[in-house]
Symmetry: C2
Subunit: 223 residues, 2 copies
DNA sequence: CATTCAATCTGGTGATTGTTAGATTGAATC
DNA sequence: GATTCAATCTAACAATCACCAGATTGAATG
């Protein structure tokens, strides 16, 4: 990198951020971290990569100052270095969706049936949830729910969903969400719920997309 | 790139956008294109790189669908494929500024004197310009001014400024702007104006930053 | 002190990228 | 048709990067 503060020096620094966004794996890690802070082990498991590779990618993200670390005994917790990083991820993903037809097509194929997708806008969904007209469930792992979730949402992790069906009022309309448009957990939740006779839909929003549109996020500070 | 529409396939597409943002030269080209459509020759001149290299970088940007082309005789005009691309550039630059101290430092050193920078917020500057309390001048090349400029701004290209000083009311307060925070043209304009006895300041905003904050852009459609 | 285990570091390989320079295309003009 | 010139294509090079696998660090635990 150049040393004098000439013009290209400025672009080189911005390119550092760009570089860290140029690897699919790093983007996946970034999206996982947008759900809340996690250890390297958790990240490598959830992103399905070797822990040593995850560590290398996280190092790159840390050198670009997009993530920070915190030591807790043997574990090192990674987190985004600010809410603007999650916002950047959303902006990048939305731009990709807007201009890359292949991506839009792949995303459209991901939803199992068209009527599985809740078409309501965010504000009116929020209102309905507030009034109890729909039950909004968060099917991510409980730790991610605790780190921040949609208002009025109930934590119903996907792998506990089947055991906890009784917790849901049988005649209610259920709307599930997960980590975002790229995540399949809410799809699987809808499939399961419909099999069991529930009226269920999903939204593609995760907490990042929700927050990026200016809506509030609730947190459980159980420290 | 993977063919099946599995999960990593989605991230790979977003990473295509990230990759195109990972080179300083490409970012510089992108910022230039945010000022309006330009030919390869113009871009290579303004970015100070070989035309063949510019062409190669533009090819990469086109393959990521961030730019589009239009043929006009011997010339090929490049333009951003949407306003969201300019927005993405602003978001990326702001995130870099927020987290990379080195970048913030280099930017701070670029302004010749602290009092050269107009600290007013955008709305009140707009109001003052509307009322004629300040003269806002656009020191970019005229073609860029015509492609879109701040409301109430007057085109005063830097290389014509000295000849056209008489056009400016002598007792007015002048505020200059150019392509954005990385551009030095407004600095040089302020230096020149102060040498000639004017009361002059600059703002770091370009049209992208102005538009990104939700404020209007005026265009001269002289087709 | 030895063991365990999360996390990082190191070296190595194949693939990709930025840059340069020469050759080529393709539309306009003489 | 030959020429001009913007723009792209091609080949080649060094540099960088993603990924893998083995070795190492460092905090906790027995």
């Amino acid at each position: 990198m150049t040393i004098n503060p000439n013009k290209s020096y400025l672009y080189e620094h911005v390119a550092r951020i760009g570089k860290s966004l140029s690897s699919p794996k790093r983007l996946e890690l970034l999206e996982l971290l947008a759900q809340g802070e996690k250890t390297v082990e958790t990240l490598s498991t959830q992103a399905d990569i070797d822990m040593r590779l995850a560590s290398a990618h996280l190092k790159a993200l840390r050198e670009a100052r997009l993530v920070e670390t915190r030591r807790d005994g043997k574990y090192i917790h990674y987190r985004l270095s600010g809410p603007d990083v999650a916002q950047l991820w959303v902006t990048l993903r939305e731009t990709a969706e807007e201009h890359l037809v292949e991506l839009r097509l792949a995303l459209a194929q991901m939803v199992s049936a068209p009527d599985c997708l809740c078409t309501e806008d965010r504000e009116s969904l929020l209102l309905k949830a507030q009034q109890g007209d729909v039950v909004v469930i968060d099917v991510r792992p409980a730790a991610e729910f605790n780190a921040g979730h949609l208002p009025f949402a109930r934590s119903m992790p996907l792998d506990e969903l089947e055991q906890r069906l009784a917790d849901l009022p049988a005649d209610s309309h259920v709307v599930a969400y997960c980590r975002g448009p790229f995540c399949v957990m809410s799809d699987e939740a809808v499939k399961l719920l419909r099999d069991k006779g529930f009226s269920a839909q999903k939204i593609t929003d995760g907490v990042c997309e929700w927050a990026a549109s200016g809506l509030p996020i609730e947190m459980d500070n159980l420290k």
